[in-house]
Amino acid sequence: MRDAPIKERREDPIARRRRGRIVRSLDHLTEAWRRYCRNALAVVGLGCVILCIAMALFAPYLAPFSPFALGSQRLAPPQASHLLGTDHLGRDILSGVLFGARTSLEVGLFSVLISVVIGILIGTLSGYYGGWVDDLLMRTTEVFQVVPRFFLALIIVAIFGPSLWGIIFVIGILSWAEIARLVRAEFLVLKARSFVTAARAYGAGNAFIIFWEILPNAMATVVVAASLQIATSILLEASLSFLGLGDPETFSWGKMLFSSQQFLREAWWTATFPGLAICLATLGVTLIADGLNDALNPRLKETG
């Protein structure tokens, strides 16, 4: 275990502890990264996601056409000019796939950001203060967990009209429950542990304890849960778009599948490629989540 620097310093023990913690965290992280890289599937997942990010970032440069551009060749099979074919309005599928990556990644990232922030907030309040605060917040969390998320999102978007940020927001505020529970659980476990008492002995205040002692421990599980949520958010957005509730101004994989429904018989490529793209994204994210789980929370492996 790394110790603080040897030279004698009349240093504030809290600051020193904070520095020690950063150093330890960096150690943990490098160790976890090495563990992660040894996991083949996790690396594959990372590769998939990097691919998706590349698609999203470089879409304007890579795409031969604008995804909205109507073309003359309707329902054309994959060929030289249209590598993945065209849809019923002559739009290039490849461009659609590339730009669709942006939508999915935006939705995935931002909605999870919202839900993580809310989740950590509520979980912290609930776990740290306990008592009636905890009860009230847990009741609320349970409501959010039981209420059918997909259906509610469906209704809200149907009533208020589809918009990308609306969808992001809705997904975000319906998904925080699990993270809140995880954070709260960490608090309950760690609140009574010795190092918290030790920190108090240093004269640390509440905020310090929350941010520097307890939350970092909770981060491992939160990161894994958040990663999984990115996948579910992407799927949720795709599902909503598939039902025709996607933002008409953005291009999304789900929307492509929506328009492909009628033309399955004639044009298999309109459904296959966007769907494969969704698979790539969600699979990649899920594999990363699993890999993170194994890397951050190592368990005894069964050998022999």
Binding site: K301, E302, T303, G304
Partner: protein, 323 residues
């Protein structure tokens, strides 16, 4: 008294193949148990005594494996038997009592069912089997046996649970019972009761017993002979009383000295043992105890001592007793 040999463990080696290396949990260990005899196995945690017990039962968990030796039950080598016959042996010949009954009982089956499945045959009637279960519970002095048989483990106290485990073991009338720290997880008063129960049942049914414990006092209560185990090897074995009075091996002496005897003169200093159990993946050369031994000599680090016999039935594995 019959001294027919029931179980002979010869040169047993059980190793665990882990990321850290090959751990020699049990290293060329030998012991014998005669019919109706109570043999003790003493050692610190990590000495390999539980692994020994599991090896005899054939229940060594992964990544462990028995790599060498023989286990002869009435002359038949258990390690060469097919799976089906080993199951028969577990069913009729050797039974095991474990350390923490709350973990070892299945929480969702009733206690009676768990005892019954040890003896239920295809042709036996349910009523017969259940009667025997209740009788077994009565034999271990559980009150209201009929009602308890329908209870679930979490409804019973620790002492009752352990009696259930013992009942499950003895209902099959095995020739040998291996009890691995049967009383350690229980309260002090209950501990004594359980040990007395085991002793009584052993004498009633003439069952042989291997009692495993880290507590010499526990062993002394029940066993006529004992083996002192350390780092996978037996350091000393012989009649209990002899070893108590004249312990030979330095480790045994240290164990005895470390026991707090309430009747000892006040003011005697506590003499704990320094150091810790060696890493069984890379044991020290020579005698495994020499790094901690207060009486280590040159030869101790050079080569492993063989077993020397110092009296009738009393053997020691220590260079100090070279004849």
């Amino acid at each position: 008294m019959e001294t027919e040999q029931l179980l002979a463990v010869q040169n047993l080696s059980t190793h665990f193949f882990t990321d850290r290396g090959e751990i020699r949990a049990v290293d060329r260990l030998s012991l014998q148990v005669s019919v109706g005899e109570a043999v003790g196995l003493v050692g610190e945690s990590g000495s390999g005594k539980s692994v020994m017990a599991l090896s005899i039962m054939g229940l060594v968990p992964m990544p462990g494996r028995i790599v060498d030796g023989r286990i002869l039950l009435r002359g038949k080598n258990l390690l060469e038997l097919p799976e089906r016959e080993i199951r028969q042996v577990r069913r009729h010949e050797i039974a095991m009592v474990f350390q923490d009954p709350s973990n070892y009982l299945n929480p969702i089956l009733s206690v009676g069912e768990q005892i019954a499945e040890g003896i239920a045959e295809a042709k036996s009637s349910r009523k017969d089997v259940w009667d025997r279960v209740v009788a077994a519970l009565e034999a271990v002095h559980i009150p209201e046996a009929g009602r308890v048989a329908h209870s679930y483990p979490h409804q019973l106290s620790g002492g009752m649970q352990q009696r259930v485990v013992i009942a499950a073991a003895l209902i099959r009338h095995p020739s040998l019972v291996i009890a691995d720290e049967p009383s350690t997880a229980l309260d002090a008063t209950v501990q004594y009761q359980i040990l007395k129960l085991l002793d009584e049942l052993r004498r009633t049914f003439n069952t042989a017993m291997i009692l495993i414990s880290h507590d010499l006092a526990v062993i002394a209560t029940v066993c006529s002979s004992l083996h002192v185990m350390y780092a996978g090897q037996v350091f000393e074995s012989g009649p209990t009383e002899r070893i108590y009075r004249t312990p030979a091996h330095p480790y045994t002496k240290a164990l005895l000295a470390a026991i707090l005897d309430p009747w000892e003169k006040r003011g005697k200093a506590l003499t704990p043992m320094g150091g810790a159990m060696p890493d069984l993946a890379m044991p020290p050369p020579g005698c495994r105890f020499h790094p901690r031994c207060p009486r280590a000599m040159e030869e101790c680090s050079a080569a492993e001592p063989p077993e020397f016999s110092i009296a009738e039935g009393h053997t020691v594995k220590c260079w100090r007793y070279r004849p």
